[in-house]
């Protein structure tokens, strides 16, 4: 392995930072969901990198990543279902239009 562990972790950190920007700055709920997917992806990349370099004989890390992917899929499906419901009632899914709960 020529490429060190830190390189993978740096890539994961950059992806994480970009995803944080997306989640905070985008107005559309679809884009926020895409940012969350990217967050999960960055975390998965970190886990797999640590598995490969630190504990390559223990495959629990891959199982964990599979669970992350599963949870991401379920979250995407439910999020899109909620978004369709909201769109039907409000004609918009822009997240800063929903301010009813603001005190």
């Amino acid at each position: 392995m020529i490429v060190p562990l830190t390189a993978y972790l740096v890539v994961g950190a950059i992806l994480f930072a970009i995803a944080v920007y997306t989640v905070v700055a985008q107005r559309s709920a679809v884009m926020v969901l895409m940012g969350i997917e990217l967050l999960l992806n960055a975390v998965g990349l970190n886990i797999v990198a640590f598995w490969r370099f630190v504990r390559p004989d223990d495959y629990s890390a891959q199982i964990f990543t599979i669970f992350i992917i599963t949870i991401g899929a379920v979250e995407m499906a439910i999020g899109l279902g909620i978004m369709m419901m909201i769109y039907r009632q409000r004609r918009t899914v822009q997240v800063d239009k929903f301010t009813e709960l603001r005190g």
Partner: protein, 322 residues
């Protein structure tokens, strides 16, 4: 340095570049559709990194799950959005950041009458479905995009819950009523600058901590080249409860998504009322200059309440008692 090492470095560099550039494009481009495609590229890059880390199963799963499944859902939702192609924002590149301008290159701006007419036509189709008579939708075909924006703005105000203008006024400085039309079309919130600085700070802190940290206890052991076998047996042995729980979670998720997206479960927006299929005779058509039918076209016309329903009455009224 061996050939394998050079190949590995090249593979890592290209995969990491695809992943990071795709994520950056996803975050900054003004077209939502293009942003979904950029996200797909980013997932591809991460899948390449997985394979490079000798986690082949995860790389394949990544492509199958994210690109095959979720991104199709995301594209489906993107097509629901107003202005999915970013045509409105492409007309005003001075509102984009430089990097957003780079990733939005080639977007067709909405400056020609053709684009405006097309968009207005698309909205008028909505109106045609929304109107009860169907005849009122034609006038919407002639309204220009400016009027359309005004209507969207009005609907946005309606979304605040019955003219709750107080909450609207408190929505932050650059979001007031004055230049509402400018900020309302963009894909980003008014806190974009803060978010950008937050992201840069997050990235710098994490990368700095990673670089400054003393080296990790790296093991020199090689993973099993058939790691998928190991993962499968572990999934069926040690993590069986978690595996079953994940399956159950997917089941609940599917049912919940179907229930949430199910129409008729919740009261619809009033504009959408007429678009839901209802079991009622359609309203009679006024003055279509066609000679009336002597027989109903289909057999299921008999199912409607025959002589006093509006539809049947209309057809029978022109012909008289036959």
């Amino acid at each position: 340095m061996s050939v394998a090492g050079i190949v590995e470095i090249i593979a890592f560099a290209s995969s990491a570049f695809i992943a990071v550039a795709g994520a950056l494009g996803m975050a900054t481009t003004m077209s939502m559709f293009r942003s979904a495609i950029f996200l797909m590229a980013s997932f591809m890059g991460v899948a390449g990194l997985f394979i490079l880390l000798s986690a082949d199963l995860l790389g394949l799963l990544q492509i199958l799950m994210y690109i095959g499944g979720m991104l199709v859902m995301a594209l489906f939702m993107v097509l629901f959005m107003p202005d999915p192609g970013g045509a409105m924002m492409a007309a005003m590149p001075e509102m984009m950041t430089p990097i957003g301008r780079f990733f939005s290159l080639g977007l067709l701006p909405e400056n020609s009458h053709a684009a405006a007419a097309e968009m207005s036509g698309a909205h008028a189709e909505h109106d045609t479905h929304a109107d009860h008579g169907g005849g009122h939708g034609t006038h919407a075909r002639h309204q220009d995009a400016e009027h359309q924006r005004g209507r969207e703005r009005k609907e946005g105000d309606d979304a605040h819950g019955g003219g709750d203008h107080h909450a609207h006024g408190a929505q932050g400085g650059s979001h007031g009523m004055g230049h509402m039309d400018m900020s309302d079309m963009s894909m980003v919130t008014p806190v974009r600058a803060w978010a950008a600085w937050l992201a840069v700070a997050t990235g710098c802190v994490i990368v700095g901590l990673l670089v400054l940290r003393p080296s990790w206890p790296v093991s020199s052991a090689l993973p099993d080249p058939r790691s998928a076998d190991q993962v499968g047996s572990l999934l069926m042995d040690k993590y069986m409860v978690g595996f079953e729980a994940a399956g159950f979670l997917i089941l609940i998720g599917i049912v919940g998504a179907v229930l949430a997206a199910h129409s008729g479960q919740h009261p619809d927006h009033r504009d959408r009322e007429a678009r839901v299929a209802v079991n009622a005779p359609p309203p009679p058509i006024e003055a279509d200059f066609l000679e009336p039918l002597s027989q109903p076209l289909r057999d299921d016309d008999k199912c409607s309440p025959a002589p006093d329903g509006g539809h049947a009455n209309h057809h029978a009224g022109g012909e008289g008692p036959t």
